[in-house]
């Protein structure tokens, strides 16, 4: 007890040089305590001491990375109670999700929060990627040892992990929606030449989607993929700091020249060896000038907390109104008509439908072109883009610079094509994947045969 009370008290130390440290203090009682609070502050190690005002602007980054991270946090938090309620067995999975949905208090809300934040994360990651692309933020500026192109590569990897994380969660309710989306998705994997069927067998643990598949997807979903994403996230954030913050800062550095500023009363310039005399003339670029920077704590910490809380609030409120779908239990004998992939893969489903090539007696499966070659090429292109981009350093950290106009147009066209195909897959495909305009009624076709 004595040692415990010492944690919480600020009594005088019993030995010289030994001072008590309090476990937690909202109101520091001395300068030393406030100093300790600062040096042991996690946010201060995460963020730099000073950040430029420009890089904090809402209209520059829209704080999309923070939104994504907040959504990841929400999926983890809402996933924890679901871990205790869900049973990963083919006999009981569906029933346990049904219980979560209809029996357990707040179960429906928790599941909706989990689902919406997972879907929101896919959207936020893509928007964040688009923002980084449009501002050329994967380009290096003037800082030393900048490796922004590698942080972009990490980001692309995180996008893929996010998609796979969402896809593995899709199977867990073990309903018709889940079963057939995963049937189609894993059959795309088997379209890879030579190793495809073996890859599919390793992924689903057999030749058909069964208990082995469910437990594999479950463990990937709750252990390996979140772990991988957390590790990548930590590295991503560390690189942002090593690269000198957002690319916006580099833009300020390039465009603004050093100008005289009044000496800061809190700095001992002489001691730091940057100037001589007692009243030195100090010049500074924007990154260190007092009028263009703010302290990361509290200014930036406060803003990121606003974004995080706002995201949590939005998801929590949406989850009250948007119910999560739960169809009939998975039935390997009945394929729903139409059978659709998760919305973020619908553009690929649309592509695999349209890309089977017949050349005389020779046929290339659309699953190979649309499911393997095309997405593979897009991911490869996305990954190596920073090395293809030869625009000047001035184009770093600004929206739509003239020197990057062509590549921005290419990016917009590709994104628009993906969005269009997604919309066609969502709203314009009816039974037997026939094309229907959104206002056309689907024919009445018996759901079973």
């Amino acid at each position: 007890m004595a040692s415990l009370s010492r944690w919480f008290s600020s009594e005088a130390p019993s030995a010289p040089g030994v001072r008590p440290t309090r476990l937690w203090s909202l109101r520091p009682k001395s300068d030393r305590e406030s100093g300790d609070a600062i040096t042991s502050n996690f946010l201060l190690h995460w963020f730099p001491a000073k950040v430029s005002k420009a890089s904090m602007a809402w209209s520059y980054s829209f704080w999309l990375g923070t939104v994504t991270a907040a959504l990841f946090l929400v999926t983890i938090l809402s996933g924890l109670p679901l871990l205790l309620l869900y049973v990963p067995s083919v006999e009981r999975a569906y029933q346990s999700v049904k219980d979560i949905e209809y029996v357990i208090t707040f179960g429906r809300w928790l599941r909706a929060v989990h689902r919406l934040s997972a879907h929101g994360m896919v959207i936020a990651v893509v928007l964040h990627l688009a923002r980084v692309f449009f501002t050329g933020a994967y380009k290096n500026g003037l800082g030393r040892n900048q490796q922004r192109q590698w942080n972009w590569v990490i980001g692309v990897a995180m996008l893929l992990v996010t998609l796979f994380l969402s896809f593995t969660g899709y199977l867990l309710p073990w309903d018709q929606l889940a079963f057939w989306a995963v049937t189609v998705g894993t059959n795309i994997a088997s379209a890879v030449p030579f190793v495809g069927p073996e890859m599919r067998e390793l992924l689903i643990g057999g030749r058909s989607i069964e208990q082995a598949t469910l437990i594999r997807f479950y463990v990937l979903h709750i252990v390996f993929l979140p772990g991988a994403l957390a590790a990548l996230f930590a590295y991503h954030m560390w690189r942002v700091r090593k690269d000198g913050g957002l690319a916006k800062v580099d833009h300020e550095e390039v465009t603004e020249s050093a100008r005289p500023v009044s000496p800061s009363p809190t700095k001992t310039y002489t001691l730091l060896g940057v100037a001589r005399g007692t009243s030195p003339a100090v010049s500074a670029r924007s990154l260190v000038a007092p009028d263009t920077t703010v302290n990361a704590v509290p200014d930036m910490a406060r803003r990121s907390m606003i974004v995080t809380l706002g995201t949590i609030a939005a998801i929590s409120i949406l989850a009250v109104f948007i119910a999560s779908p739960l169809e009939e239990p998975a039935n390997a004998l009945v394929t729903p008509n139409p059978a659709k992939a998760p919305w973020y893969f619908l553009w690929l489903q649309e592509v695999v439908t349209d890309t089977t090539i017949h050349l005389g007696s020779f046929t290339i499966n659309g699953a190979f072109i649309g499911g393997v070659i095309l997405p593979g090429a897009l991911v490869l292109l996305l990954t190596i883009w920073p090395w293809l981009d030869k625009s000047p350093a001035l184009a770093t950290g600004v929206w739509f610079p003239r020197s990057r106009r062509t590549q921005n147009i290419v990016f917009i066209v590709l994104m628009a094509a993906i969005l269009l195909l997604t919309y066609v897959g969502m709203a314009m495909r009816g039974p037997y994947w026939q094309f229907y305009w959104p206002w056309e009624a689907w024919p009445d076709i018996p759901k079973r045969i």
């Binding site: 069964e210 059978a339 489903q349 439908t353 290339i364 994947w433």
Partner: protein
């Protein structure tokens, strides 16, 4: 003589030995873990399945959901066509033709009573399983039918695809 490497001492050797042992241990554990994920015993459904006595089959088509199989009967001849779409593995649906037609398939006449459509990506097949539209890359498989010697039931071997001249005559 200065460019000669200094003789390896015991510490260097032990560091290398330890690092090597660590790498080997991790690689072995990793390989063993991955190998454990490849099943040695398949609990998938058996591929040879009894389908009931031939008398249970009407003229025309009968769909067997468990086997994902269409069994066709024309008088005393039978053949079986897979219901698994060759594109991405969804179960195709049969639609009855308004008028049966006869088509020559691989030199043999075949009465077609149905055609097939896939609900996932809209592939279409003729009644003999030929892919005619949509993304399906090849025709639906035909499987070997036989009669069980012990109780006279129809038997399908889902691991034994046959060509489209196959008929089981009883």
């Amino acid at each position: 003589m200065s460019d000669q490497k200094p003789p390896a001492n015991r510490r260097d050797f032990l560091v290398k030995l330890g690092t090597g042992a660590g790498v080997v241990a991790l690689a072995t554990q990793g390989a063993a873990s991955l190998r454990a994920l490849v099943p040695n015993v398949s609990y998938d459904a058996p591929t040879t399945v009894k389908l009931g006595p031939p008398a249970d089959y009407p003229d025309g088509l009968k769909f067997l959901a468990d086997e994902r199989l269409f069994v066709f009967r024309d008088g005393n001849t039978f053949h079986a066509v897979s219901a698994t779409c060759t594109h991405l593995g969804c179960t195709v649906r049969a639609e009855a033709l308004s008028r049966p037609e006869t088509k020559t398939v691989d030199g043999q006449p075949l009465k077609l009573t149905h055609r097939f459509s896939c609900p996932c990506h809209g592939s279409k097949y003729d009644g003999d399983g030929t892919n005619v539209a949509g993304p399906a890359p090849k025709p639906l498989a035909w499987f070997r039918l036989s009669v069980s010697p012990d109780d006279g039931q129809l038997v399908v071997d889902l691991a034994d695809p046959v060509d489209r001249t196959f008929r089981l005559t009883i």
